[in-house]
């Protein structure tokens, strides 16, 4: 018996909505579950104390500091390089062999799994360059990981700026660099900002790469050469070793809230960008 196209469509669309609903349901469930179990335990003491007894008791202040350092440094290093790459590709050169090679490098880098970055960071930064398990080793490794994202989003943002703006700027007697900084980047900034914010999110969530490069020290880091444990890694250790479920949930809650904030910021920035160049 052949069903009418209308009925087939109804079934197909309902099926797809079911799948999408399940997907969103999973998302909502994960967030709700973590927050439900963890939010009550995210107290001021938890946020400002150091861990005791391997994390069974106490708080996560060193982890927050360590995560901030590693993420901050990583983005601080990767953002200028990534934006400069995007500027070079769009404004300072023509499509050709060189740009193809640069893009190939960025695309491949984007696909490499985090554990490979961890292995590389370990053998190169930690051992060969002698930086040891440290915040700086972790930051440099993460910088390489987020570089392709920043390049890609910056390039898209810069390309979205109309060509007529560039022509006008040149016509008024600007050099290329003046045009790029005062006209193009000014309009592209929110779009570039989105990429940077997303990179922050990626760095905070990263575990495998920091495990092998920043180490797992529980103490408060004082310099960039100290080892430090990030929030994500701490959560992993707590839950896997079964040290403290309440602390694990609380740590996860901080992570989830940070991700929510970051995604919100990225979303808001993207809308501002679209408004500016549309």
């Amino acid at each position: 018996m052949r069903l009418s196209p209308r009925i087939t469509q109804g079934m197909a669309v309902s099926g797809m909505w079911l799948l999408a609903g399940l997907t969103l349901g999973v998302l909502a469930f994960i967030i709700a579950f973590i927050l439900w179990h963890g939010l009550p335990h995210v107290t001021w003491t938890f946020l400002t104390e150091s861990p005791r007894a391997m994390g069974r008791e106490g708080g996560v202040l060193p982890m927050i500091v360590g995560t901030a350092w590693v993420t901050g440094l990583a983005v601080f290093i990767a953002a200028p390089i990534g934006v400069a790459t995007a500027i070079y590709l769009t404004e300072y050169t023509r499509e050709g062999r060189l740009t193809a090679v640069i893009r190939f490098g960025a695309d491949c880098l984007a696909g490499i799994p985090s554990i490979i970055f961890g292995l590389f960071g370990f053998v190169f930064f930690v051992i060969t360059l002698g930086m040891g398990l440290s915040i700086i080793s972790g930051a440099l490794t993460l910088a390489l990981m987020v570089l392709p994202t920043i390049i890609r989003t910056s390039e898209e943002a810069i390309r979205a700026v109309p060509a007529s703006f560039r022509d006008v700027s040149f016509g008024l007697g600007s050099t290329r660099w003046q045009m790029v900084t005062q006209v193009v980047l000014r309009s592209a900034m929110p779009g570039i900002g989105t990429g940077i914010v997303l990179s922050i999110g990626r760095s905070i969530s990263e575990t495998a790469a920091v495990m092998l490069t920043a180490g797992s020290a529980l103490g408060m880091p004082h310099t960039a050469f100290d080892s430090s444990r990030t929030l994500a890694l701490h959560f992993y250790v707590l839950s896997r070793e079964g040290l403290s479920m309440t602390n694990a949930y609380a740590t996860a809650t901080i992570l989830i809230l940070a991700i929510l904030l970051i995604n919100l910021a990225a979303y808001w920035l993207m809308r501002r960008f679209v408004a500016k160049v549309a």
Binding site: P5, M16, Y92, P113, L147, A208
Partner: protein, 298 residues
């Protein structure tokens, strides 16, 4: 004038960072891992099932099988759910809902892998061990229920994790299909669903294939979540309810205490992983570039 040349040079140096980084990574991973692979014999390394690193036996076949099984399972879930979301977002969802669904899927991508793994351990693993496993055994779909930590658990968790990748690239592919195709089909009296599965999915095929291959790459490369739910035993899995260890888990689990040849063997595992990913990504890039080429030629 000269200042412009200096600026141009600085920008070029920055732009070479990505390719230099890639070169460095490739060089060091291979430098650490290749010698022992050659020493143990490439064939033996890849095909032997004996992983006794402390005794000098380095066979990673169970891990390769594990990665394959888990990835295949993840793709089933990821493609079904991911494509459904992509089609909905581009063809059927009203703008109000798109504004909710799209950011939600992006949010899904942002959740840390350790959180996914954790949820898998807390919710999914007991469910498989206590409910789904026995049910499948009684339906003769599996020989034994297993410990819950299994290929199935890892596939489900990974499937959800690669879904956003598949969705977003497929959305791009579907949106790149010229509007005239859709309008032409509708004008001929087809319903939106018929248009979608007869015209649009075919037209956007290469982009969707690229999305799937990139998703595969993501699944093969995922580490933390898999460690938490897959069981990490050293046997080739005999059913989807059996525990399994992947290439990535192998590295992450043992790197903390490995030394000497053992450590080098883990790097060799990394080499195999790296090669697999590179092949997958190159295929994906070639497929999407071919699509771009065809679009231009049109």
């Amino acid at each position: 004038m000269r200042r412009e040349k200096i600026i141009s040079l600085c920008l070029l140096l920055a732009a070479l960072s990505a390719i230099s980084g890639l070169a460095l990574i490739t060089a060091f991973i291979f430098k650490e891992g290749l010698p022992i692979m050659m020493r143990a014999g490439l064939g033996k390394f890849v095909l032997s099932s004996d992983w006794y690193p402390t005794e000098g036996e380095f066979g990673i076949f169970p891990m390769i099988a594990g990665s394959l099984a888990v990835t295949a399972g993840a793709m089933v879930i990821g493609v079904v759910f991911g494509l459904a979301c992509a089609v909905l977002l581009t063809q059927f969802a009203p703008p109000r809902l798109v504004a909710v669904v799209k950011p939600s899927i992006e949010l899904l991508a942002g959740i840390p892998s350790v959180v996914y793994g954790f949820m898998g351990v807390i919710i999914l693993v007991p469910f498989i061990r206590d409910t789904l496993g026995p049910a499948m055994v009684s339906l003769h779909l599996a020989p034994d229920p297993g410990p819950g930590l299994s290929v199935l658990a890892a596939s489900i968790v990974l499937g959800i994790m690669v879904l956003p990748t598949i969705t977003s690239i497929s959305v791009d592919a579907l949106q790149a299909v010229p509007r005239s195709y859709r309008e032409g089909s509708l004008a001929l009296g087809a319903t939106e669903w018929q248009t979608t599965h007869r015209v649009l999915l075919r037209a956007g095929r290469s982009g969707i294939v690229a999305a799937i291959i990139l998703g595969m790459g993501r699944a093969v490369g995922e580490t933390m979540a898999v460690i938490m739910v897959a069981g990490n035993t050293l046997d080739v899995p005999h059913s989807i309810l059996a525990p399994v260890r992947t290439l990535t888990s192998n590295i992450a689990l043992e790197m903390g205490y490995a030394a000497g040849d053992h450590r080098k063997a883990l790097f060799a595992t990394g080499v195999v992983l790296f090669v697999i990913i590179m092949i997958l990504n190159t295929i994906a890039l070639a497929v999407s570039r071919r699509r771009a080429g065809k679009a231009v030629a049109r």
